[in-house]
């Protein structure tokens, strides 16, 4: 039933498993983490730990791309613009969607996670969003944008 309605309700999911059409991929986004002038890539932390290093950072970056708006709120309002005037939706949104203070606290939390993962105190942390394009022999950097500087 949930499949027909295309709704997921934990623990019952839609098991599309990468079936959704992707289309031509022009730009690929990845991250570079500079800790006291040493560069790390998320994959350097290992497959399991990468969940913790990459997932929250990517989610944080999705907010920044939308000038702080919650990506899910953005998605819902793109599909149903008239919900913006709905009092019920706004009330739910206040409880559910990301608040600006949560976004502000993220860089500091991320630093503590990295300190724990690297088992050392970090004096200077810079996180870059790196955009790549794919060439026939691998990745080619297009741009590098500073996300966190602490």
């Amino acid at each position: 039933m949930l499949h027909i309605l295309k709704v997921q309700f934990t623990p019952f999911f839609l098991y599309g498993m990468y079936s959704k059409a992707v289309g031509e991929v022009d730009t690929l986004v990845a991250y570079e983490i500079e800790v006291d002038k040493t560069t790390y890539y998320p994959f350097d932390f290992g497959r399991e730990k990468m969940e913790l290093i990459l997932g929250p950072l990517d989610y944080y970056n999705n907010h920044l791309r939308l000038n702080g708006q919650d990506p899910v709120e953005h998605f819902v309002l793109t599909k149903r613009p008239h919900w913006n005037e709905s009092e019920l939706f706004n009330q739910i949104g206040e409880k559910v969607f990301t608040k600006s203070e949560e976004l502000q606290r993220f860089p500091l939390w991320y630093k503590t996670i990295l300190e724990r993962s690297l088992s050392k105190k970090i004096n200077h942390l810079i996180v870059y969003e790196v955009k790549y394009t794919y060439t026939n022999y691998g990745l080619k950097t297009i741009s590098k944008n500073r996300l966190i500087d602490l």
Partner: protein
């Protein structure tokens, strides 16, 4: 079918040991990788996604409340381990199983809330449900069957989604997925042998398309499971190929989902070989009589 169910019940203890032994290993791996709730250091950015369940939980501040308290998050992690140990060593005390299902479910949705992505790996969660019932109860077999069917439904539904979404006609589909999937790997290890393999697959769209079709077939094969248990050995092999393929070509190795192997142990095969042995014995005794 009755004989087969008898076989499953006979192996209850083995299933229990395999499952909870494996769960304890997962717990230790998560501990090593700082992925337990008390190690998340009171995260600040909850991800509600497009799932009403998470909207409810985040709205009620439940995950925030759990990780916000060092004591509470440690208690959930500790309960998960001790209840798994209890279930492993005291199979008759079902309280341990109940506590495990509860604590694991809390762990599952709270960690998913703060990892910025909702993982769909429900293997441990679903397989653990069958151990809520006693070995000699009818409900154990019913739960085993239900979980088995849900697992088949999962894979068959993935196969059908691929068909409906026209993956069969999209030659670049897997090549494009590989680009997105491996960007972090290629960034960190550009000269690794696996990077060469990935780049080769991305550039060779026909080969990657063939691989994608093979992956689809491996999922589609699970339709057999709805009708018979005779080929569970074959399904187990298909799932093994599926897991190895996902790891090799997609860098996906979801530990939780390895527990689905438990519902595929070839009990059907065991019954068949037992039947064969019985028939052989009867045949031999007939020869001796004549």
């Amino acid at each position: 079918m009755k004989q087969l169910n008898y076989m499953v019940v006979q192996h209850y203890s083995l299933l229990n040991k395999l499952f909870f032994g494996f769960v304890i290993c997962i717990w230790l791996i998560r501990l090593y990788n700082d992925l337990l709730l008390h190690q998340l250091n009171q995260p600040v950015l909850p991800y509600e996604g497009r799932d009403p369940f998470y909207w409810m939980m985040v709205g009620l501040q439940i995950p925030q409340f759990i990780v916000g308290s060092k004591f509470l998050s440690l208690a959930v992690d500790f309960l998960m381990l001790t209840s798994a140990l209890g279930s492993l060593f005291f199979q008759r005390i079902k309280l341990f199983n109940i506590l495990f299902v509860l604590s694991y479910f809390i762990y599952f949705f709270v960690s998913n809330t703060f990892l910025g992505h909702h993982f769909h790996s429900v293997g441990v969660l679903f397989v653990s449900l069958m151990f809520l019932f006693k070995k000699d109860s009818k409900r154990f077999i019913q739960a085993f069957e239900l979980i088995r069917y849900y697992f088949f439904f999962m894979l068959c539904s993935a196969f059908l989604w691929k068909l409906v979404r026209g993956n069969l006609w999209d030659l670049d589909h897997f090549s494009n997925i590989l680009k997105i999937q491996h960007v972090h790997f290629l960034q960190a290890n550009p000269s690794h042998w696996k990077a060469d393999m990935i780049v080769h697959l991305i550039n060779n769209e026909s080969l990657s398309f063939l691989l994608w079709i093979s992956l689809m077939v491996l999922q589609g094969i699970f339709f057999i499971g709805f009708f018979t248990k005779k080929y569970d050995g074959l399904l187990l092999l298909s799932y093994l190929f599926f897991i190895v393929g996902s790891w090799l070509f997609m860098s996906i190795l979801n530990l939780d989902n390895l527990s689905w192997f438990l519902v595929l142990l070839p009990f059907g095969f065991l019954v068949l070989s037992k039947n064969k042995a019985i028939k052989k014995r009867q045949f031999n005794s007939l020869i001796q009589v004549s």
